[in-house]
Symmetry: C2
Subunit: 687 residues, 2 copies
């Protein structure tokens, strides 16, 4: 018999999947626009599906190898009982993540054309379609993650004191797939983008998304595989890993709350999913209105309903005698507030209405060098407020946890804050996927040479998509930074369970731990280096391929159709080849550290690597976003507008920001959680 | 009566000062070239002296305020006995550092003209002069540091068990001055450089160091105030802080070695100074030879003699019954080997003969954006090998220390390794100061419109100077990273002494320590942001000032002399104004963390801030050096040579690298040691 809380989780997930199905049916029945539009959309769809197929085949091979390693680790360290279940959980997690990514892609490449078609008549309808396309992904990904964790928990025995330690395999599987999905997709999207821009805009002097550029379709494919499938996998594993981490912390409170403390995280996430469904249904496009208004409204509705649900959820599940449960509610509110604060800070640093982007635009007047120096300086600066916010949230929610009177409640307080932040996840994912769909629809409109008014409608939606993409990256890094702290503690609980000795000190003053910490920070920089380099290498192949096609004068004159598929193929090959080395490095290196220097040094490695990863991701995401918007701001006419010297300088900054914000930055989100789940699962190796 | 070891230290320092005096007398008696050369050199000298005067006046005010704060901290925390002596040691340290900086400047602005004059006839002689100019600075700075520490130690009672804790004030004073000297000088030099390049080379299309550019003299002044005075102050405080840190660790071994363990660090540094003197005297310029050959030879001689001295020094001072002292010798050798390894790694990453710079030059063909993406990726990559080297050195020297059989000898092993690395300091400082002198002499030759052959001679020397500057930055960061570990432990010993409780655990798994660590890493990024921004702000003023002068057609035509002094004045004002905020921030922020979150969280702050600082400094220094040399490589004719599109792209990369490698990077070296000495001195506030 399944516990009531689990029944509720499953029921909400089924409800969410049902809503997703209804939205999908409704969406697929919509008009698909002109034949020209369909032609473009078909090319995108075929390219994206081909990439995803090849990418996941590569990932599958790597995953199977790793599953065998996990099995061997457990088997050879004398834990035969856990060997099969952990390896199986890993495979299930990996599979669920892959399915979520594929579904997100499937919907995105079918929504873009319908959004473009709707834009022929109404911008409100175009928003509705693209937003609902995002919602389908958001609902499916979140409910798959919750269902996956819940059902794996049930399948592995549903013993609240032991099962949480076994389902870490599920989280690791999800992280593993997310790493490659985000990295490969990120390399693909930015190599195509940078390559298309450099050879098209800069060398041949033709506009962005011009039909004559053989790399345009690859660029549009990139939005789907990088932003949709990549970020989908990222947030899938976020919810999975963070739920599992919180469940492990819940084990320590078994004597107080029984199974409720363990199940609380997934129940609250399910409640958050319900809140997101309400928020999503409240969003209605209106012709002539700013699309951000409707989406922001939906977000606030989701946040407020989540807060209400949190209150009742805590009262129901964490309300044991002698427990001041209101403090847990407060901790949860801190998490919800942090999610709002992160959105606001990201907005400040990447929106042209504020000082940072203005400064970059000003600096563009003296050329590319000053544009980049200023943008880099802004990027470094963006670490300050988020770090302080994270610090305050951790300290406050820890303090709240202690005030509840539960023994060792402090850590559980931070877990509740993380859960609070994660409750709005499905809604955020909706906003996030909306971005690339709108971007793609804009590309389809552009390439099908639709009338000016249709393009204008799409431009507005596209601009909103850029904003939501920047905001959700802020959210992703914010939630990751709260979550990792509880994952550390899950790791330490796991090690303590394995060794039978308390493990609650990671002494940074000991030489091995300090060295581990130094190497952890280094790994983050090295990984970012490899990710950025992979983009520039792959972009170089794209440039070479386009140059060959441009040698045919018929293509540039528009008489002959360029060979889009050839460029798509080269980008696919480059992205897949270049994602493997960084991926293997970040998995292999911590394992070597752990085996040679043991678990405490590895904890130092993990924690300081995480700190560096959070801050570097902020730098990369926000500087990239700021450069992008400084260019867009100049394009509205500021500092001489398009074709001015300032604009040329701003284009250089934007190009540099591309691999920062869409490849290295988001891959770092995944990396820091991967490191945590990896150490959890492979813990027996490190003792 | 002063102990024999101290007598030896003082004797060697006096000897070094004597040698410096002889070299100075000899140098000042040399020919000062043509009247045109003298005119340029005089303008540089006047500008540099004016800046230094105003800079040190500002620093003096800040230092006096801080001395009063230190006095108050000790007085009000009930340690009246230490209040006066710590504040006085701070003032003495600050003064000695200022004097060392001023002397380095004084020599540099007099050596440049004599080097330029010598280049009229012989490149060997030009090398001799510029290298000896560097040697004078190197000898004076190192011996002042050693004398300062030794005499303060004697003046404060020479009690080996207590005095080391009091002389930390000296180290803090030195760090404090170094921070502002490096930051202000770094802002000055790069603002002038970037400003001169952007408005001269890019806008007006005139060559570098052209007499018509009103910012040229300011640019040449910058080499002196940034590279000479700045790095002089940096390495002054390195030797001071690291000696004091090692002496504090020596206190713990008093029962084994008596005073010898405390005095060992300064004795070995004095021996190293002696070895450097021999190395310096071995360098002889030869016409037509590669200047790097002679300097490298001198370096290896210094390293080998240092190793021999180390052997005898350990045998003499650390040879107690039952101590396997050979392991201390091994630890010292590890430090010397690490200094060589760091030079090699830096060479690999910044020399055009190797893959990284080649890659950047290749990427320049597709424009500025790919040049910068590749350079940034190289910068991130350069953290890997140094971090691994540091890790191995720390672990090995710690292990060696344990093998000696001395109780808690592991930490002292790392101290001996640090000392080994520092022994060659005077020689490295010589090479370092040689760079800007050669650079300046090149500028004088260029601006005095000397014949082509003279310019060619200077170009060769200038190129060598660029190499030595990059190498010594590698050395500086390497020695800093070993040193900070012992400074942490000194801090922990200090706290233990103050609280009377053991303090040997910094638990990163506790929430406040983790938050402290996060904020420490953040501070490093924020500081780098402010340093970079200060350069771009000041450069903007320079550009504006030059543009006004260029409105006079007589100046660009060469009919009228530009107003150099006006630009110098604006750069001075900008640099001084913009150095204050970052300086106050990095002092104020850790104090706030320490007071609110107490000493253990502050230790986390310090350690993770240091790790991040080391790695970020590597990124900034090496990417800057690589961009610089990629540009120089293209100028030799590769990828189309000067005036090609690749060259234009490489110039953008070089400009971005300027504030990275000469302002933010070197300021971070100082920052990480300042944090350590600051926490040591203000420790009573944090308990």
């Amino acid at each position: 018999m399944i516990d009531l809380p689990l029944q509720i989780v499953i029921a909400i997930c089924v409800l969410a999947l049902l809503l997703a199905a209804i939205l999908t049916r409704d969406l697929l029945s919509q008009d698909q626009g002109t034949p020209k539009m369909r032609e473009v959309a078909d090319a995108i769809r075929v390219g994206a599906e081909a990439f995803i197929r090849r990418q996941y085949s590569t990932i599958a091979v790597l995953a199977i190898v790793l599953a065998l390693v996990i099995f061997a680790v457990y088997f050879l360290t004398g834990q035969q009982g856990l060997a099969i279940s952990t390896a199986a959980a890993f495979i299930v997690g990996a599979t669920c993540s892959a399915v979520a990514g594929v579904v997100a892609m499937f919907i995105a490449v079918r929504t873009n054309i319908r959004t473009a078609a709707a834009a022929q008549t109404s911008d409100g309808k175009a928003l509705d379609f693209s937003f609902r396309g995002g919602a389908i992904s958001g609902l499916i990904i979140t409910s798959m993650s919750l269902l996956g964790v819940s059902l794996t928990y049930v399948a592995l025995g549903a013993d609240p004191q032991h099962t949480p330690f076994v389902i870490v395999g599920f989280g690791f599987g999800a992280s593993f797939v997310a790493l490659f999905a985000q990295l490969g997709g990120g390399i693909y999207t930015k190599a195509a983008d940078v390559g298309a821009d450099l050879v098209g805009k800069v060398e041949a002097g033709i506009p962005e998304d011009d039909v004559r550029n053989p790399a345009t379709i690859a660029d549009l494919v990139g939005d789907n595989v990088g932003d949709c499938a990549g970020r989908g996998a990222d947030l899938f594993e976020s919810t999975a890993a963070e739920n599992i981490g919180a469940m492990i912390l819940g084990v320590a409170l078994f004597s107080v709350f029984g199974a409720n403390g363990v199940l609380f995280p997934i129940v609250m996430c399910a409640f958050g999913l319900l809140a997101s469904m309400i928020g999503i249904l409240c969003v209605r496009g209106k012709d002539g209105a700013n699309p951000m208004d409707a989406m922001n409204m939906g977000y606030y509705i989701t946040a407020v309903i989540s807060a209400v649900f949190l209150f009742f959820g805590v009262q129901w599940l964490l309300n044991a005698p002698g427990v001041a449960w209101m403090y847990f509610v407060a901790a949860g509110f801190i998490g919800i507030a942090l999610s709002v604060a992160f959105l606001k800070v990201t907005e400040y640093y990447t929106d042209h209405r504020f000082r940072p982007v203005q400064e970059i635009a000003d600096a563009s007047e003296t050329g590319a060098a000053t544009n980049i120096i200023t943008g880099f300086s802004v990027g470094l600066e963006t670490t300050a407020i988020p770090a302080i916010l994270i610090g305050i949230s951790l300290l406050l929610s820890y303090w709240c946890g202690i005030q509840t009177g539960v023994p060792n409640g402090g850590l559980y307080g931070t877990a509740v804050a993380t859960i609070g932040m994660l409750m709005v996840c499905a809604y955020v994912l909706t906003m996030d996927t909306f971005g690339p769909i709108a971007d793609n629809a804009g590309g389809i409109v552009e390439m099908s040479q639709a009338p000016e008014e249709v393009r204008k409608r799409m431009d507005k939606l596209d601009a909103a998509g850029n904003t939501t993409k920047a905001l959700t990256k802020g959210y992703a890094i914010g939630s990751a930074s709260l979550a990792v702290f509880l994952l550390f503690n899950a790791y330490m609980a796991d090690i303590a369970k394995l060794t039978g000795k308390a493990f609650d000190v990671v002494n940074l003053a000991s030489v091995p731990v300090f060295v581990g910490a130094l190497l952890g920070a280094m790994l983050v920089f090295l990984f970012a280096s490899l990710a950025v380099r992979a983009v520039s290498k792959t972009a170089q192949s794209v440039i070479d391929a386009v140059r060959i096609q441009f040698k045919d004068p018929g293509i540039l004159a528009g008489d002959r159709k360029p060979d889009y598929a050839a460029v798509i193929d080269i980008t696919t090959q480059g992205a897949l080849k270049n994602m493997v080395l960084p991926g293997i490095l970040v998995i292999g290196f911590p394992v070597i550290i752990g085996i040679t220097m043991k678990y405490e040094a590895l904890a130092g490695f993990l924690m300081v690597g995480t700190i560096t990863g959070i801050l570097l991701a902020l730098i990369l995401n926000n500087s990239g976003g700021a450069w992008d918007n400084a260019k867009k701001y100049i394009e509205t006419g500021a500092h001489g507008g398009k074709r001015s010297e300032a604009h040329k300088a701003a284009v250089v900054g934007d190009t540099i920001g591309d691999p920062f914000k869409d490849t290295a930055g988001p891959s770092l989100h995944v990396l820091i959680k991967l490191l945590a789940t990896l150490t959890l699962v492979l813990a027996p190796l490190f003792i």
